[in-house]
Symmetry: C2
Subunit: 210 residues, 2 copies
Amino acid sequence: MIITVSREFGSGGRELGKRLSEALGIPCYDNEIIEMIAKEHGFDEQYVSHLSEKSIRAAYPFTISRRFAVMPDYVTKQTVKIAVEQRKMIEGLASQGDCIIIGRCADIILREYHPFNLFVYADTEAKLRRCIERASENEHFTHDEIKRKMREVDKNRARQRDFYTDTKWGAKENYHLCIDTSGKEIKMLIPAISEYIKCWFGCDEQKVFI
Amino acid sequence: MIITVSREFGSGGRELGKRLSEALGIPCYDNEIIEMIAKEHGFDEQYVSHLSEKSIRAAYPFTISRRFAVMPDYVTKQTVKIAVEQRKMIEGLASQGDCIIIGRCADIILREYHPFNLFVYADTEAKLRRCIERASENEHFTHDEIKRKMREVDKNRARQRDFYTDTKWGAKENYHLCIDTSGKEIKMLIPAISEYIKCWFGCDEQKVFI
């Protein structure tokens, strides 16, 4: 039971993944992946996190020359290294057993594991509300600043996916279930979602030759 | 609890709606709407069904001159009549109480009832399989013919929606839940979906002024 959660920034996808993990009793990996890479290679976590945002683009040689030509050589090398490590880490986690992986193109990386791919989204007002409610005391952004951030983060996620596959980030046909969390308490929806996933893994249609 | 089910041709949306209706104990309307209109107005069902496919386009005067200029006047009049009747019928059914309505742009027509809008889809192979399995003994279509039919029906559904709204048919942001039925036994998924819908209607977030 490998589950991947892709999500729009501010839609509550991370919360949904974490709560699903508790309900199903299986581990959930999000920033933990960054922490593990940092620990294993003696890097600073923030540094890994920063590079990992560019990492997927850099993980393939043909993109390096095109996109990273102006970057200092040592940054490029580290970025590629982290991308490769992230991919290996995700594959390693999946091979250990049931788990949930949030973001990081895990739906594509783990294709051969036939994961259940979830996409979480919400309308702009709901995402704005969520971002404001969850901001720390020191964060004071205007609505426009938050909206810009939303667009930037989601654009980057879509772009990262581009390097793995031609299929589009957020297009429903690339996911098994798409959930709109607008105005809803995520924790209340968890029992039904976890029930759905358990059924999904156990209800393959008998295939008839066509 | 008003539920609308939009679906790709061959994805099993109708089966899902009917089974959901049994699970939730509320009525489900699909072709019944055509039957009711035919009965009320003394029309032949097939005639109503045929016209209703064009009906939404014709329901608004501004579209008539543009799109129906070459149609005989009596056909145009009947088409508009049936479109208006269908709309009234859908509103009437919703005003009577909890129900499920399949297709017919009910998600748009019933906007003010704040329905739960479901979209059902599947990959082409799964839809093809479903069409073949469900064909009657007298129906012998090639795979290409079925695929053409799929494209035509879905294109028509998308076009009908165009006349009510600018939002796109099948785009996840216009639905609360999108379900991929590819290779799955729909009946096995019903308990979790009905549970999800019940929770959805009962878990509005407390709104904080932003």
